[in-house]
Each structure stands twice: as C-alpha cells, then as structure tokens.
C-alpha cells in the first residue's frame, strides 16, 4: 500500500469528505489561499471554491461560533484553529455551546461539527504554541476528543469525526504531521471511542495517545531486550475513551503505565489511572504509574523543552519500576 504522511492523510480525508458531502465546509485562519499554517487544507480552496473553503480574520470565537451555528442549521462545518493553544479564545463556544446545545435544548439539535487543531511540543515554539490541551476539555460532557497517532488512524478518524453527529475536537500532534504510514486511497472510517493495540504484549500495558504512542513503541522495543513484554494501547479517542480495551489489556498484564505529553498534575492520565484502579484494584500487581510532562509550561530552549516532556527513557524507567 501507498505510504503518506499524516498531513497528507488529513488533507485527503478533507478532500474526500468535501467531495462526498456538499454540506461539509472548511474554514479558519489562512486555510484557503495558503492551505493552512501546516498545509492540512492545501488544495481545497482551488477545488471547492470560496463558498466552501473560507479564510477568516483572527476571530477564534467567531470561527467556533460559525461551527456551532452552521451545525445547528444542518451543515457539517470543519473549522481549523491554527494552534491548540488558541482554543482558549473560543473555549466558551466549545464548552458552553458545542458541548451543551444538544442537551440543554433536549435533543432538538445535532451538533455535527469538527474543530481541528495542532497541538503538542517539540517544535521549539515556546510556552504559547506547544501545549497539550486535551485535559482542558475532558470534564466537559457532550464533547468528543479524538487524538490519532498514525496517518491511517488520522484519515479514518477524521472521516468518522466529520460524519459523526457530535461535536468533535480533533487533535493533530505537530510532530506527527510528517510521520509516514500506509494509508488506503479510498475513504474509510475508524470508530470514535475505540482504541487499538499497537503492539501486543503480556507483562505490562502502556497506554498512550498521539506522539507518546510512538515513544511507547520505542520503549517496548527496549524493554523487550530486557525481557519485559509491553503491550502498547493506543487510545486514539480521549473522550469517550475505550474502557474495554483497557480492561482487557490490563486484566492480562496486571500492570499499567499511562503516558501523555501534558503536565502530570490534573492531566488525563489521572482519569485512566483512577479508572483502572477502581475497576481492577485487586487484580493489579503494582500501582498504575503516570508518565507525563513536568508541571510547568513548555519552555523555548530545545534542551529544556525535551527535558520537560516525557521521553522514551522515562517510559522505560516507569515500566521497570513496576517489577
């Protein structure tokens, strides 16, 4: 099969869904003329024109507002917020409207909108362009949060997100945009809310998403040499997270490590950790351990940045601490 980057996979999904469904439209800052800051929307403007591919002013609240209103009117808006860090500027539209309109108006409205945004550290982009934002949104019932780690997952999950009738926050890790993998040319879907075992193992479950999945895989390879067989669980969706895949994996391995790039305190790893303890406390051989960023913003200096976010070595170390 053909090998393409995650950026190309996202771009292809957008093309195919716009082709398939004329209620899909794309908008955001610099998405038309320039094809997006990272290039995810390249070609769409030429192909689908001004009406369905729109450059907006720097107006994040308006962008998310358009998504809300258009979804309520029955379209399938796909908005881009250039950096996840700027989701702060449309936080109200997501938390108080996208996530609640269906509920507070008692099911009268579907909210089939997608907000795509680039997240994560590694680009030496400093404290306001490098954040992991998922945990800002995990205590907001009504919202889905999708977080792919591979081009294949990104394409399938983006197509599912666009077709889904719930609001979806679609997270794209900047450091994965150029990551390549096999991706079918035809459109396909991956169910939201389903994780995937990216590497089977029997001694410990390493639960991760986005970039940390790849670090978990590296760690698993290292651990293998040391006689520890690690199973890598890629959640792929953060909300609703795949409880079953976690239970299945951990009931086999009896040990788990959760990894994410956001700071540890108050991060989403806490949810996974407490879920596992609540459900399988008596089966566990050791406590679930979180591997995460330090409790500080992401600094600009490359060495500091790399120090602050979790490394493969940190995962290896955490796993070993369980034996």
């Amino acid at each position: 099969m053909r090998t393409i980057s995650m950026l190309e996979a996202i771009n292809e999904a957008l093309h195919q869904e716009m082709e398939r469904d004329e209620t899909v439209f794309v908008f955001g800052e610099d998405v038309a003329r320039q094809g997006g800051d990272f290039g995810a929307t390249r070609g769409l403007w030429k192909r689908f024109g001004d009406k369905r591919v729109k450059d907006t002013p720097l107006s994040e609240a308006a962008i998310a507002g358009i998504a809300n209103g258009a979804a309520m009117a029955g379209l399938r808006p796909v908005a881009e917020i250039m950096f996840g860090d700027f989701m702060t500027e449309c936080y109200d539209q997501i938390v108080n409207h996208a996530a609640k309109a269906r509920y507070m108006y008692a099911g009268q409205f579907k909210m089939p909108l997608v907000i795509r945004t680039a997240v994560g550290a590694g680009m030496r982009a400093g404290p306001q362009h490098s954040q992991s934002i998922e945990s800002w949104f995990v205590n907001v019932p009504g919202l889905f949060i999708v977080a792919p780690s591979t081009p294949y997952d990104a394409k399938g999950l983006l197509i599912s997100s666009i077709r889904d009738d719930n609001p979806v926050l679609f997270l794209e890790h900047k450091m994965l945009y150029n990551f390549k993998g096999e991706v079918p040319e035809e459109p396909y879907t991956i169910p939201i809310g389903k994780g995937e075992i990216k590497r089977p193992g029997k001694d410990v479950s390493v639960i991760a998403y986005m970039k940390t999945v790849h670090q978990a895989l590296e760690a698993a390879a290292i651990l293998d040499n040391e006689g520890i067989s690690a199973e890598v669980v890629d959640l792929r969706t953060i909300i609703p997270y795949d409880r079953q895949i976690i239970l299945d994996s951990v009931s086999k391995t009896k040990r788990a490590v959760v990894v994410h790039e956001a700071p540890k305190t108050g991060g989403f790893g806490a949810e996974i950790s407490s879920f596992i303890h609540e459900q399988m406390f008596y089966d566990l051989e050791a406590p679930v351990v979180r591997v995460a960023a330090l409790d500080c913003p992401v600094p600009f200096n490359p060495r500091l940045e790399d120090y602050v976010v979790p490394s493969t070595a940190d995962i290896v170390k955490a796993v070993k601490s369980l034996f």
Binding site: T23, F25, K51, R52, K54, T56, P57, S59, A61, A62, A64, G65, I66, A67, N68, G69, A70, A71, M72, A73, G74, L75, P77, D92, Q93, N96, H97, A101, R102, Y103, M104, Y105, A106, G107, Q108, F109, K110, M111, P141, G142, F144, D164, D165, N166, G193, P240
Partner: protein
C-alpha cells in the same frame, strides 16, 4: 407591506399576550412555583412582537434572556413554553433548559443561549448556512445594550460585514445591563454608530412604537434578504423591572421608570387603535380578558404537567452514546 387594521389588532393582542404571559410567570415565580430565576421583558413588547411580523417562518432567530417570549410569536406552542419555565417534562426543552434556554427548532428559534454575546458568534453560522445553500433565509439576532460590550460583538459584526452575511442585528437598548447604565460602560451613546463604522447600515428606532419597529424591521429584512449584507437596528426601550424578578433595581431613578412607563408600548398601541377608530376601549378589555383566560390555561397546564423522570437527566448528552445514570 402596510399593516391592515386587522394586523394592528392582532399585533396589539400579541403584545397583551406576551405581557400577561410574563406577569403570570412573575406571579407564579413569587409564589414559589417556578424554580431558578425569571428575567422579564415587560416594557419591551413592541420589539418582541413587531419584529416577527417582518420575518419569515423559515428564518433563523436567536433570542436572549429578556426576549424568550418572542418564541410565542414565532409560533412555539405556548403550553410548551410555560411548562419549560416550570421545568416540566412537557416543556419545549423537557425541563432541562428552563426559561434561560428555550429553543424551538421547528419554528427557527435557535436557542436563547445565556452566555451573553455567544449568539453574536453562533448566528454567523446559520447565516453562513443560508449563504452556502443559496437560500434567502435571514438570521435575526436579538440582544441587549450590555451585551455589546463582549468581544463577539466585534468579531461577529466584522465578519458579517466582510462576508455580507444575511443577518439582522436587533439590539434592545434598554439603558442598563443589570445595574450598570449604558453610558458608563460604553463609549458610544448610540450603538448604531458603532455598527455603521463596519459599513453596516444602521438605524436608531423608537423601540416602544410597534409600528415604527415593524417598519424598520421590514426595511432591514428586505435589505438583508436581497443579499446586500447585514443590517443593524437599535431599539431604544426600557425594562420596567429589575434584571430578574426580585431584583429591586434600586439604583434607577424613579422619574426615569415613570417616564418610560408612561411610554408603555401597549398603551401606545391601544391609544392609536382607539383614536383611529379601529378598536374600542371595550374591545380591548374583552380581548384582554380573553388573553387572561388563555394564559390561565397555560398555567394550569404547566402545573399539571409531569416532572421529567430521573433517567432523562442523562439523555441527549451525546448523539448515539448513552451516559450512565446512577
């Protein structure tokens, strides 16, 4: 389209209807039958009623806390609105929204969202939808003077102007945001002047004169429906009571309140109809009593309506995904 005598009578009746609807809500609230808060729009009936006369059934409407009764004029079943205020299962939002969250998709009411200003962003979306679909549907968004302090006011007006979106902005300038006088919170006396700066045609309208409101709204809608871009109306008006039932609104000068009560939109309409020989005092009394009866029925309905069942609390969180109950 000029209003016929019949139209004027009907309009007058609608104004009486929404007034009495709210007066009864107030009474029920004070009696402890309505939970939460009540924001009454008494004094603003001309806007609440007449604007709708210039709109079409398939248009999109965004109201706010002060104007939820507009949905009655749009065509929502009044029983369902009253029941919603009571939080009953038969409410338009099944008791989950309450008076602050009344939407009725079937009539184009997209929800009186209670984050002030948020609808100024959301309304862009229905307007974009009309544009993408190529329909001539108009989006009308209603908000108060205070709400123009929010950032979304700017983001919304700017985008509406650049993209020539089909939006009628209807600002009810009732001089206050809760306790804060408009003048002390806003750099412009007439908000319309701010709208004009974006190149949006704007009018200042006597918001207590239903006919003037209707005429201005007709001009606005015509402009917008013919795809010339947004239009802005600032209705000068006044709310007679506090921000919500129970708020003494102690800081407002008594003379000011008296001045505006004297300019009651219903009295105005009634006097007009009587002086033009369209209606007699007795006709008005008869009509008022009729309305009173109708509202009584609503109240009765709301009282007798069942409570939602507990499991409904976790319904409609997601589409196609269940949330666990206790």
């Amino acid at each position: 389209m000029a209003l016929s005598n019949e139209d004027l009578i009907k309009m007058c009746r609608q104004m009486v209807y929404v007034r009495k609807f709210e007066e009864h809500i107030e009474e029920e609230f004070k009696a402890g039958n309505i939970p939460g808060w009540c924001h009454l729009g008494i004094g603003q009936e001309a806007i609440q009623v007449a604007c709708h006369w210039a709109l079409r059934k398939d248009d999109y409407y965004f109201y706010d806390h002060r104007n939820k009764v507009m949905t009655l004029i749009a065509g929502t079943d009044p029983k369902a609105v009253m029941a919603e205020c009571f939080g009953k299962k038969t409410g338009i939002c099944k008791g989950k929204g309450g008076e602050m969250h009344i939407a009725d998709k079937s009539v184009g009411n997209m929800g009186n969202n209670e984050i002030q200003g948020a609808n100024l962003a959301i309304s862009l979306g229905t307007a974009v939808a009309s544009q993408i679909r190529g329909t001539d549907q108009v989006t009308a968004v209603f908000f108060g003077d205070g709400t123009t302090g929010r950032g979304e006011f700017h983001e919304g007006l700017n985008l509406a102007a650049v993209w020539k979106l089909p939006i009628v902005y209807c600002c009810a300038n009732n001089l206050y945001a809760i306790s804060t006088p408009h003048r002390e919170a806003h750099a412009v006396e007439d908000i319309a002047d701010l709208a004009r700066a974006y190149g949006i045609p704007a009018e200042v309208v006597d918001g207590n004169d239903a006919v003037a409101v209707y005429e201005a709204m007709t001009r606005a809608v015509q402009h917008v429906r013919s795809k010339k871009g947004p239009y802005f109306l600032e209705f000068k008006t006044y709310r007679w009571q506090g921000h919500f039932v129970g708020d003494p609104a102690a800081n407002r000068p008594e003379e000011e309140v008296a001045y505006w009560k004297a300019r009651c939109p219903i009295k105005r309409m009634k006097e007009r109809l009587i002086s033009e020989g369209i209606m007699s005092e007795a006709d008005f009394e008869r009509m008022s009593e009729e309305v009173e009866q109708e509202i009584h029925e609503l109240i009765k309905y709301a009282h007798e309506s069942p409570e939602p069942s507990l499991e409904e609390a976790v319904e409609d969180v997601y589409y196609g995904l269940e949330v666990a109950a206790r």
